[in-house]
Amino acid sequence: MENKHIKTLNQANLKQSAVKGGCGECQASCQSACKTSCTVANQKCEKKQ
C-alpha cells in the first residue's frame, strides 16, 4: 500500500506463514555466523529458496 501519508514496505504475510509453516527444514540460527547471540529473522525459509 502506498498513499501520500503511508508507504507499506512488505506483504505482511506472517500470519499465513504460521498456517503453512513449521516444516523444520531451515537452518538453526546458531549454525550461521552468530554462536553467541540469537537472531532468527535473518534465516532463510527453506521452502522459498
Binding site: 501519508h5 503511508i6 504460521a18 531451515c26 546458531c30 549454525q31 547471540s37 534465516q43
Partner: protein, 469 residues
Amino acid sequence: MIHKYRLNGYNICLDVHSGAVHILDDTAYDILDYCSENMGKDVPEKVYEELGGKYEKKEIEETYAALYELFENGQLFSPDDYEQFADMMTRAPVKSMCINISHDCNLRCEYCFAAKGDFGQGRCLMPLETAKKAIDFIIANSGTRKNLEVDFFGGEPLMNFDVVKKTVEYARGLEDKYNKKFRFTITTNGILLDDDKMEFINREMNNVVLSLDGRKEVNDRLRVTPNGKGSYDAIVPAYQKLVSQRTDKDYYIRGTFTKYNLDFTNDVLHMHSLGFDQLSIEPVVSDPKLDYSIKYEDLPVVFEEYEKLAKTIIDSRKKGDYYNFFHFMIDLDQGPCAIKRLRGCGCGNEYVAVTPQGDIYPCHQFVGNEDYKMGNLNDGTFNTDMKNMFAMSTVYTKENCRDCWAKFYCSGGCNANNFQYEGDIRKSHKTSCELEKKRLECAIMIKAALAESGDETDCDGEDCICSCL
C-alpha cells in the same frame, strides 16, 4: 501491538503480529498515538483537540482514514493469534548439531566463552569413533528431516582436522542410504589454514566462519597466541586466499567487539577493505565485571555506533559498494515462518552440541554445565524430559518476550545467555535484548532508506545470500 520509532529521518511503524512495516509521514506518525486495537472508523475528537493546531482538518481526516484502512486490512494493531501454535509445540527431530571436535585451541583469546578452548574440561581432541557416533545420533534422531546441519566447532577444529575430514567422509557415505543431506559448517581461527585444508573446506563446507575482530590493533589485543603474540598477520592472508577460492558457498568473517572497540564500524569497514563482503561482528558476552565487557551503561554508545554503521551501509549501497552485515540482515517478506519464530534457535530440541567425551548438551554454550548435560553418545543416554522442556520454551513462555515488539525477530533470545546471566532460560538477558532491538530498528530503517532510493534490490546479484538486507 505496534512499535513506532524515528530513526535517520524515517518514521517507522512495525505491526508486530502481521509483520507489516509502514513508513509514515509526520501527520500519520503523530495520529498513530491516538489509534489502538479498538480504533473506530471516525477520527477521535482528541485528535482534533490536540493536533488541530498542527495539521489541517482535511489532512487529519485523510490520514486517519489511511491508518484505519491498514487496521481493517489486518496490517495495523493486528491481533495476536499465535499462542494457539505455541501451545501445540512438541518435541522436534534433532537436525542440527555442533560437534566440538577439539577442546583445545592454539589461541588464548581473552573473551573466549569456551574458557580459552577447553570449556573448563581439560584439553583434548574428539576421537573419530565418537565423531562417527555423533553422525549416527543425528541420523537416528532426525526423523523425516532431510537437511541435517553439522558444525565443527571447538576449541579450534583445525587442530583435529584429520578427524573432521574422516567424519565428513563417513557422513557423506550415509546420505543416500538414509535420504539425508548434510550441510557442514566449520568455525576456525585460521592459524592452521593451509592449501589442503582450504581446498577441503571450500569443497565440503556449506559455510565457513572465519574469526577476525577487525583492525590489526583491535584483533591483536585480545586474539593472541599462548605466548601473547597477535594473530592478525598469520590469518588475514589465509582468509583472503580461502575466500578468493570459495565460489558461491557461504562464508562469514566473524568478529567480536568489546568495550575496547566501541567504534566497531571501523572494524567492519576494515574487514571490507581486506576484500571481504560477508561480515559479522558481535558484542562480547561476558561477566560484566571484566574490563572488556559491554555493560548496560555502555548501551547508548553502542546504539549510536549501530546507527552509524547502518548509515554507512546505506551510503555504500547507494554507491554500488556491497557488503553484508549479518546482524542487519532481515527479509521482511520471505524470512522464516511464524512457527520457526516462536521458539527461535531450537537449542536442546532441534539443536544439540556434543563434546570430545561424547557428552550431549543443549548447545555449545551450555557445554561444561553439568546441570544441562542431556546424555552421552557412548552409553546411549538422552534426556527427553530436558528436550521437552526446551521444546516448550517459546516467546509465550518467557514473560518478558510475550509483550515485546521484537519477539518474532529474536524469538526469545539466547537461552544460554538467559541462563548464564539471569539464572533461568526463560528470563531474558536484558543487555542482549536491548542490543537486539536496536539492531532490528537499524535493519528495518535500512530497508526504508533503500526502498526510498529505489534500490530495493539491495544486493549485488552475484554472490548475495539474498535474504540479506
